[in-house]
Amino acid sequence: MKDTLQKFFKIDRRWIFLLLTVTLFVPIVKPIGLPNKSISQATTRVYQNIEKLPAGSFVLLSLDYDPSTRPELHPMAMALVRHAFAKNLRVGVVTYIAGSTGLIEELFARVGKEYNKTYGADYVILPYQPNILAVMTQMASDLFGIYTSDRNGAPIGGMPVLKGVKSYKDMSLIVCVTGTAILDYWVAYVGDKYSVPVAGGVTAISQPGYGPYLQTNQLKGLIGGMKGAAEYESLIKQPGKGTSGIDALNLAHLLVLILILTSNIILLFVKYF
């Protein structure tokens, strides 16, 4: 009996890979619709901060993620833009990750059409800029000193979307969606320094590290990982890729739990019986 059980520990790891593949693939082919009932306070705070803004307020989105973190961050960026457009807010987009430009184009091509928004009047996409700290510092005094044109080279000076927006004090909220440390920069060099509300959306890996900023209110809210994206989609009542991913995440976590429990039970059995 013990010998048979001990074979479990010598199982070829590729069987586990296959099991995980099947577990993640099944809900994609046939969605199960497992509920996402709990909505975290941190995500709700981001939602409330956007919800309370009057129509026409200017929100700056710093979308700093590339295809490597797209499954987690793209759904939350999409939900944030949908929420901002539904509230008729003016949206400006900046990025400090060159690889995110294509994803930003894809996002606004889709969501802009959904809400019948006009480029230049309702939103503007500014070009990628290197040296993030220099840009952040410059934007504190004059946005047009660092950004003279949009990502296609068109001058931004006369765009209605930027009317009355010169520096951070004219912005109602900054939301940074990133898989890097760029959110830390927004908190330290902009939020704390110029008293601008800063919220964020990050990968699940970085999420625990932002707890202290949430507690001190240096961050006005935080969306964490695909779970956070699903929560935000629930709040705006528009299910998207985040919500559909919850099935797969739940099943995969269940599999990991079962494997951990099984191996521990077998280990205890082999050791003490």
Binding site: R14, F17, L20, T21, L24, F25, I28, V29, S68, T69, R70, P71, E72, A98, G99, P127, Y128, Q129, P130, L133, T137, V187, A188, Y189, D192, K193, T203, A204, I205, Q207, P208, G209, P212, Q215, T216, Q218, G224, G225, M226, K227, K241, S244, G245, A248, L249, A252, H253, V256
Partner: protein, 244 residues
């Protein structure tokens, strides 16, 4: 009807994804192709970003318009490359000195304010509002403050950790373990999310509008492994017979 370039992109994405995942089964030439392609494409991408987003708009265009001041930081930047020429490497100090000074000037005050003073204030502040806090909030405040002190003590090495002090330090370890556990759990979730993203794309490319790219590439890979296993098995048998 999906555009031809989108179909080709779908085939490329499905192919490269499966090639990379095939390593989980066994190392193979298709994985190597995808790996090398990834590195090459990554380097090419970075090079074009440097040229199109940095060099042209930040140096070439201003200089063409007569804004000659940008030459100074450009030259300082170029001095960093003298690190590769031992005789001239002293020049790189000027560039590094500027970077260090500029970086420290920005980072130190911001770091002190954001990560040091604000965090200390955040830990202490609830105790000045005790009368207005609920029992749970008071418990939270005590837990955070107690945890911070114990963890800080764990990293304080100027006093020998023994007796009661060792107990405080050990409590700090438990707080750290809770953090690492939470971070690890989130890491697992993040990795599953990324895997889900790739599988979701593979499912998209398995549709008839992409001419079943996923299934075809996957079938070809399975066939490759079967044939490779069959022929390498034959070779091993032949080698075994010769040795006998």
């Amino acid at each position: 009807m999906v555009d031809t370039s989108i179909i080709a992109g779908g085939w490329l994405a499905a192919g490269l994804t499966i090639f990379i995942f095939s390593f989980l089964y066994r190392d193979n030439p298709f994985f190597k192709i995808a790996e090398h392609l990834y590195l090459g494409a990554g380097m090419g991408w970075l090079f074009q970003v440097s040229v199109n987003s940095v060099w042209i708009p930040k140096i070439w265009e201003p200089v063409s318009k007569g804004e000659l001041l940008v030459i100074i930081p450009s030259v300082m930047g170029l001095t960093l490359l003298t690190q590769f020429i031992p005789k001239l490497s002293w020049m790189s100090r000027y560039g590094f000195t500027f970077m260090m000074g500029y970086g420290s000037g920005l980072a130190i005050p911001a770091g002190l304010s954001t990560d040091f003073m604000s965090q200390i204030a955040g830990t202490i502040k609830p105790f000045s509002l005790l009368a207005s806090l609920s029992a749970m909030d008071i418990f939270n405040a005590l837990l955070v403050a107690g945890g911070a002190i114990c963890v800080l003590f764990y990293f304080f090495f100027s006093v020998e950790h023994k007796g009661h002090l060792k107990k405080v330090s050990n409590v700090g370890i438990y707080f750290l373990m809770v953090y690492f556990g939470a971070a690890f759990g989130n890491t697992v979730m993040a990795r599953f999310s990324l895997l889900y993203g790739r599988f979701d794309d593979l499912f998209t490319f398995s549709g008839s509008n992409y001419f079943y790219a996923t299934q075809v590439v996957l079938a070809c890979m399975v066939l490759y492994f079967l044939l490779h296993g069959f022929f390498s098995g034959k070779k091993e048998d032949a080698a075994g017979e010769e040795a006998a």
